[in-house]
Amino acid sequence: MAQINTTNNPDTPLEYQSETGRLNIFGFWIFLGAEVALFATLFAAYFALKDGTAGGPLPIDVFDLNNTIIMTLILLISSFTSGLAIHEMRRNNVKSMIVWLVITLIFGLAFLYMEIEEFIHLVNEGANLGTNAYWSSFYLLTGTHGLHVTFGICWIVLIITQVLRRGLTPETAKKVFVSSLYWHFLDFVWIFVFTGVYLLGMVG
């Protein structure tokens, strides 16, 4: 159903110009609603099993809040640069859009690196997946988010290659825009992970 009609007024942003563009962006918002329900269930499991800490280290002893604050800032910056990339896309300078996207990727990878670093630290402290209910739900929640970040990075790399190969068309612009929605959503979820898991974990 992809009628490309550019009849609408000239300064509609590129990604909204094609029929599939409009459908996909709206459909992606519905998908984000489903993702909210998915992460909400993971949070429900996490908060329900918060006291299942028998036989494993307590979060308050092994969490490093400063490290997590840095991770949060990194993800915020990557969300910011992704916003700039969209801003540049709407002003049609493809090169600076790609520069900002690459910066977003770098920050994303930094975030992932720090998260894996933290997992290794936690495992060395004796808190691994099967230790107890608390750590199981911790790993599932942060792990699913980490997996989403990994998937996001691969997706954005793929889209950058497509933009390089086929230039900025309503088709590729839509893809960049949807992948940036996804990236912002990851930060949206991380706010709650940071607040609910790390911050409240330290408050004890």
Partner: protein, 319 residues
């Protein structure tokens, strides 16, 4: 079009099946509607109370339905002015059939709320008597009853004095079972690591059938027990007799009870409460099963370390 014979056939069959059903209903004993204890009586009254409302709704809807379906069926001499194809709504009617259900729901919620809070307290009829505490523990496919005050334990049967409030502390060693004596009152779940309280009382002596009504595997159908209400003196000398010549419950026998199988009735003159409290420790039965080689394959030995976040399917480590 409705041929006459067809409507007669349907009318007759439904009438016939209604008669058969009521006959069957009278013959089979509907024990929930004939409770033998105050707790069951509260629930029976609530059920009958709700049945009246529901019958009223059914009658209204059925009357409306039959009237409309017969009056407005398409037939040759269907007079035109009865047919109003564009009549599409009336707010007056909508308000009526929204308000009335709200009233019915409120009329049902109030007694339900009262009953809920009442069921959490011992029965009023014997408020003067101190409830006897009995621990009911569900283990895969048997029930274990412990009398902490008299230091007695029985399996698959429980003797109590009649017309006396009993406080059951229901838990389980390995499964999520439901402690239910239909003729005396509602059920409550028993789960490892948790204890739920249930007040029951038998007004007059008799044997009532109790069972586990939550599916817990192949033996669940036979996880039944006898709830025996005795006269006061019979109960007292049963206690004395059991204390005198029933065998002690040693850890070995109790561990055998932890294995998943159906067993007969047993009596002991000491309880397992001394060495294990299932409402605090939910792993006891599982460790026993591993010790006896009844290996429950479902449980993995602790997964070893996982550097990468655990979602990759690269975690090996089992058995």
């Amino acid at each position: 079009m409705f041929k006459n014979v067809q409507s007669w056939v349907i009318g007759l069959t439904s009438l016939f099946s209604l008669i058969v059903l009521t006959a069957l209903a009278i013959r089979s004993d509907l024990i929930i509607l004939d409770p033998k204890g105050p707790v069951g009586a509260i629930q029976k009254d609530l059920i009958i109370y709700s049945i009246y409302f529901m019958l009223a709704i059914l009658i209204v809807v059925y009357a409306l339905f039959t009237f409309i379906v017969t009056k407005y069926r398409d037939r040759k001499n269907f007079d035109k002015n009865e047919y109003k194809p564009d009549m599409h709504g009336s707010t007056k009617l909508e308000i009526i059939w929204t308000l009335i259900p709200i009233i019915i729901v409120t009329a049902l919620s109030i007694p339900n709320a009262k009953a809920l809070y009442e069921l959490k307290k011992p029965p009023k009829s014997t408020a003067d008597k101190e409830p006897i505490v009995i621990h009911a523990t569900a283990v895969d496919w048997k029930w274990i009853f412990s009398y902490p005050d008299n230091n007695i334990e029985t399996v698959n049967y429980v003797n109590v004095p009649e017309d006396y409030p009993i406080l059951f502390k229901v838990t389980a060693a390995d499964s999520m079972a439901s402690f239910w004596i239909p003729q005396l009152g509602g059920q409550i779940y028993g789960m490892p690591g948790m204890v739920n309280e249930l007040y029951l009382q038998a007004d007059d002596p008799g044997v009532y059938k109790g069972r586990n009504s939550n599916f817990t595997g192949v033996g669940m159908t036979n996880q039944i027990f006898r709830f025996v209400a005795l006269a006061e003196e019979d109960y007292q000398d049963w206690l004395k007799k059991t204390k005198k010549n029933a065998p002690e419950l040693d850890v070995g026998t109790y561990e055998k009870l932890m294995l998943p199988e159906t067993v007969g009735e047993m009596t002991f003159s000491s309880t397992h409460l001394e060495f294990i409290d299932h409402s605090k420790n939910s792993e006891y039965a599982l460790n026993i099963r591993e010790k006896y080689g009844v290996e429950v394959k479902g449980i993995r030995v602790k997964a070893d370390s996982s550097e990468e976040d655990e979602n990759e399917a690269t975690i090996s480590s089992h058995h």
